[in-house]
Symmetry: C2
Subunit: 187 residues, 2 copies
DNA sequence: TGCAGCATGTAACCTGTTACATGATTAG
DNA sequence: CTAATCATGTAACAGGTTACATGCTGCA
C-alpha cells in the first residue's frame, strides 16, 4: 500500500508521460528540454534518480533493449500499480492551499487527466480549481485595495497587480474550460 | 567579495523586506504567512536558517532587544554590504531562462526595486522582461498550433492554453506597467 | 489555570542543482 | 577523424519541508 500518491512534481510528470507511451530516461529528458514542459528540470541528475525511485516503489518498470551493448537503452513503462497511483494522484481533492502554493502542479495534473480520469472527476476537479482560485483572487483584490495608492511603492503595487491579473486569468480560463468540457460528450 | 548576488528566492525576499524596515524572524514569518508573499515558506525551519546564512555572509545584522529575558527578540537589519548585494541582485540582466524558469523571482525582484534601483535600471529591467516574455509566448503559441486539434488530449491542450494565457497576461502587464512608469517623473 | 500566540530554534529527510564521468553511434 | 548527439549514471551540495522542542506573555 504505502503512499497512494506521488510526491514530487517531476515524478508526477514522469508518470503522466509514461502513461501516454513508454519511454527511456533520455527521451523523457528531451521532452522536458524541448516541449512546453520545459519548466521541468530535464537534468540527468534529477530524472535518473527519480526513475529509480519510482521503480523501487513499483510504479514503473524498465525493460532493457539491446542487451548486447555496454550501455543499454532502458525503456520504462507504468506498472498496473503505477497507473493506479497516478490516477489517485490526479483525483486528489483540490484545496485552497493547492491554489496558492501548487498551481503549477494542479495544471500538470489536469493536463494528464484525459484517458485516466472520468469526465465527472475532471469536472469536479476543474470546478474546485475555479472556485478556490476565485476565492483567493478576491482576497488578493482586497489586499490590493487596502494597499491604497499611498505609502506603498510603485513597483510593489505593480507586482501585486500582476499577481491579481494572473489569478484572474486562471479563473477565467478554468470557467471557460469548464464550460467547454460540459458541452462535450466525452473527455 | 564572494558572490555579489543572493541565491534563493527566500533569502532575496528577506533582504527585500528588511530593506524597507528592520524586523525579527517572527515578523518576517508573519509577513510570509499573511500577505501576498504567502507564496513563501513562512516555516521557521526555512526562515531562521536563512537569516543565519545571511548573517554569516555579512548581509544582515541582528541586534538583540530585551537582553534580560531568556529568549530574546532579535531584530535584523541590512548591513551596507547587504544593501549593495540586494541592489546587485535586483539589477542582474534578465534572460530568456529567467522568464521560463524564474518568473516568480523576476516579479519578486521587481517588487523591491522602488527606492533601491534607479528609474532607468527599472525601465531596462521591465523592458527585458516584456520582450523575453513576448518571445517565449510566441514559441508557446507556435507549439499550441502545431499541437493541432487532433491526436492530443483535451486536457493537455487546455493546460497549454492556460500557459499561453498566462504568459500573454504577463506580457500585457509588463507593457502596461512600462508605459505607466515612462509617464512618471520618478519611481 | 490553561490556552493561544509570541519567539526562536534544531534535526531528519527529500529532492533538485551542478558538475563530472563514461562510452556508443552518427554525420560532416 | 572528430565533433555532436545518444544514453546513462554518480557525488557533493544547497535549500526547503515537516516535525519537534523550548519557554515567555497576556488573557479569559
Amino acid at each position: 500500500m504505502t503512499s497512494r500518491h506521488v510526491e514530487s512534481d517531476l515524478s508526477l510528470a514522469i508518470l503522466g508521460l509514461l502513461a501516454v507511451a513508454p519511454m527511456s530516461g533520455y527521451s523523457l529528458r528531451k521532452v522536458f528540454l524541448t516541449t512546453a514542459l520545459k519548466a521541468f528540470s530535464g537534468s540527468p541528475g534529477a530524472i535518473y534518480p527519480a526513475l529509480r525511485r519510482l521503480e523501487s516503489e513499483g510504479l514503473v518498470e524498465g525493460t532493457v533493449e539491446q542487451k548486447d551493448t555496454l550501455r543499454p537503452r532502458k525503456v520504462f513503462g507504468l506498472t498496473r500499480r503505477g497507473r493506479e497511483v497516478l490516477a489517485d494522484s490526479l483525483s486528489r481533492p483540490v484545496g485552497r492551499k493547492d491554489v496558492i502554493w501548487g498551481m503549477d502542479r494542479l495544471l500538470l495534473r489536469f493536463s494528464f487527466m484525459s484517458g485516466l480520469l472520468s469526465r465527472e472527476r475532471t469536472l469536479e476537479f476543474l470546478n474546485a480549481l475555479a472556485s478556490h482560485t476565485e476565492d483567493y483572487l478576491k482576497e488578493l483584490e482586497a489586499e490590493y485595495k487596502t494597499m491604497g495608492s499611498g505609502r506603498s511603492s510603485f513597483t510593489g503595487r505593480a507586482a501585486l497587480e500582476q499577481g491579481v491579473e494572473s489569478y484572474r486569468t486562471t479563473a477565467r480560463w478554468a470557467r471557460k474550460t469548464l464550460d467547454a468540457l460540459k458541452k462535450r460528450a466525452s473527455l
